[in-house]
């Protein structure tokens, strides 16, 4: 174990692999927890999950056709996010069944294409993520994205609150709810694709959903939930990363487990507080 710690801080490993992973990872973590607050409260929790499967399908197709993965996955997932949000609003096909339909289709296409071409190994990276393999351009993209998301969140904070809390009222006060839903779709799609490369298609939705649920156990105010969710997700990421290097476990899964641990602690704390009052 001490050997692991020593290795972690050798300049070659720390500078070339760990630091980019931590910077990129933190950026994606903060974005997903902020966007997650609105997605969870609007009952769109499964959208992140569905989008990651669609992204997986797109990346597989890109790998087979020898195209740059991000250039294919980003537009596909953005379009899918539009469609899913639109479907969730209309009553013809309910949101959760629409997501199930889309995500299983995309997943099957991805597996079919990649197994036919015999490159399952490459693609399985995207299923389980590979945070330690983030390259420079991934990190730059993640940081740029997180700056955009955080800025948008601060400037639009009051409108986001209103649209999330009561869309009908927001529309009546002249807020163009449609535009905010669109901005959200795009930001969510980009976050999901980046998060997928890091955490894998299977785990990205946990980054979106769990910090908000954790914060909701103890916070009364919307602002409290936003700030706590951000803090919890950052803490979980750092602890999970460190643990995975120390114990040689999978980074993505370790981060999720730490998140779940926080959730359980906050639940317990919340329950005790409620009983007292």
């Amino acid at each position: 174990m001490t050997e692991n710690i020593r290795l972690m801080f050798t300049p070659e490993f720390f500078g070339a692999i760990l630091l980019p992973a931590i910077i990129g990872g933190l950026a994606v973590t903060i974005c997903s927890s902020l966007l997650g607050v609105t997605l969870v409260l609007k009952r769109y929790s499964m959208i992140g999950d569905g989008l990651s499967h669609i992204g997986y399908g797109a990346l597989s197709v890109a790998a087979v056709m020898n195209l740059a993965p991000l250039k294919v996955a980003l537009p596909v997932v953005i379009i899918a996010a539009f469609i899913l949000l639109r479907l969730s609003e209309s009553s013809k096909l309910s949101g959760d069944s629409a997501i199930a339909l889309f995500s299983t289709t995309a997943l099957s296409v991805g597996i079919l294409v990649s197994s036919k071409a015999g490159i399952t190994n490459d693609v399985s990276h995207y299923m389980f993520g590979s945070i330690l393999a983030m390259n420079k351009s991934d990190v730059i993209l993640s940081v740029v994205l997180s700056v955009i998301v955080i800025t948008a969140f601060i400037i639009l904070y009051n409108r986001i609150f209103s649209v999330t809390f009561d869309e009908n009222f927001a529309r009546a006060t002249g807020v163009n709810a449609g535009i905010y839903n669109m901005i959200f779709a795009v930001l969510t799609a980009v976050t999901v694709v980046l998060g997928m490369m890091m955490m894998g298609a299977l785990l990205i939705s946990s980054l979106i959903v769990i910090p908000t649920l954790t914060a909701m156990r103890i916070c009364r105010s919307f602002r409290g939930v936003v700030l706590t969710a951000g803090a919890v997700s950052v803490a979980s990421f750092l602890i999970g990363m460190f643990m995975s290097l120390l114990l040689n476990t999978a980074p993505g899964a370790s981060i999720v487990i730490v998140n779940v641990f926080f959730f359980l602690c906050f639940s317990l704390f919340g329950a005790v507080c409620r009983k007292r009052s």
Partner: protein
């Protein structure tokens, strides 16, 4: 009497079905209008047109005195807010000021004052830091009415404000609305299913019974018309 709202031969449809056709009525400042009608008679569609969320097929809505549709204080039909949404009463109430903010991102001291005043007026000031999921149904409606007050310059539009409330909370709510109308000089438009109460407190009745024969007039005229018999059960 200054005219505050006029509907001129308004026609609108919902999901492709025509629910309003050639509806005309007008309101003066300080009026208290109750909109009656069965489910599917076009009440909600009319509300959406008044709020400017939906554009009518034909006809027009004219707001008097420089009023914009975003200056209408709106209390939406009962929605299940209690389902665990984390927000304090103060956060919810001040979101009513959003319409007058334009593109400026944050609330000013003046808007915080408006929100505080609205909370005091509706008796929820002492609940300001409580989470809205801990409130009773009556308290929730008063909180949402305070939010509507923040948005309202002169006109309140209430969509079934007492649905789901117990008799005591219902009576309190009617009393508050009556006070806002009589003491604060707010013009009130209320969608209601309670015909008896509507006749008692309103000075104008709009009944969208069947799209061809809508009624608009005073409560007395309504009682004497043949349309009322279906609702009053005579």
């Amino acid at each position: 009497m200054k005219k505050i709202l006029e509907c001129d031969k308004l026609s609108a449809s919902y999901d492709g079905t025509k629910v309003l056709s050639g509806l005309s009525f007008s309101l003066n400042e300080g009026d208290y209008l109750c909109i009656l009608g069965e489910n599917g008679s076009g009440k909600s569609t009319l509300v959406k047109c008044l709020l400017g969320i939906k554009s009518p097929d034909s006809g027009k809505i004219i707001l008097g005195d420089g009023l914009k549709s975003t200056d209408i204080g709106y209390l939406p039909q009962h929605t299940n807010l209690s389902a665990g949404f984390p927000a304090t009463v103060a956060e919810v109430v001040i979101s009513g000021c959003l319409g007058r903010r334009g593109l400026r991102p944050f609330y000013s001291a003046k808007e915080k004052e408006t929100a505080r005043h609205a909370m005091e007026r509706l008796g929820v000031a002492d609940l300001a830091d409580r989470s809205c999921r801990e409130l009773s149904g009556g308290q929730q409606q008063r909180m949402l009415l305070a939010r509507a007050m923040c948005a309202a310059k002169k006109l309140l539009l209430l969509d079934e404000p007492v649905s789901g409330l117990d008799p005591t909370a219902t009576a309190e709510m009617y009393q508050l609305i009556d006070d806002l109308n009589k003491k604060d000089g707010m013009t009130v438009i209320m969608v209601s299913h309670d015909v008896v109460k509507s006749l008692e407190c309103a000075n104008r009745i709009l009944c969208l019974c069947c799209s061809e024969h809508s009624f608009f007039g005073t409560p007395e005229e309504y009682v004497n018309s043949h349309i009322s018999s279906r609702f009053l059960g005579e």
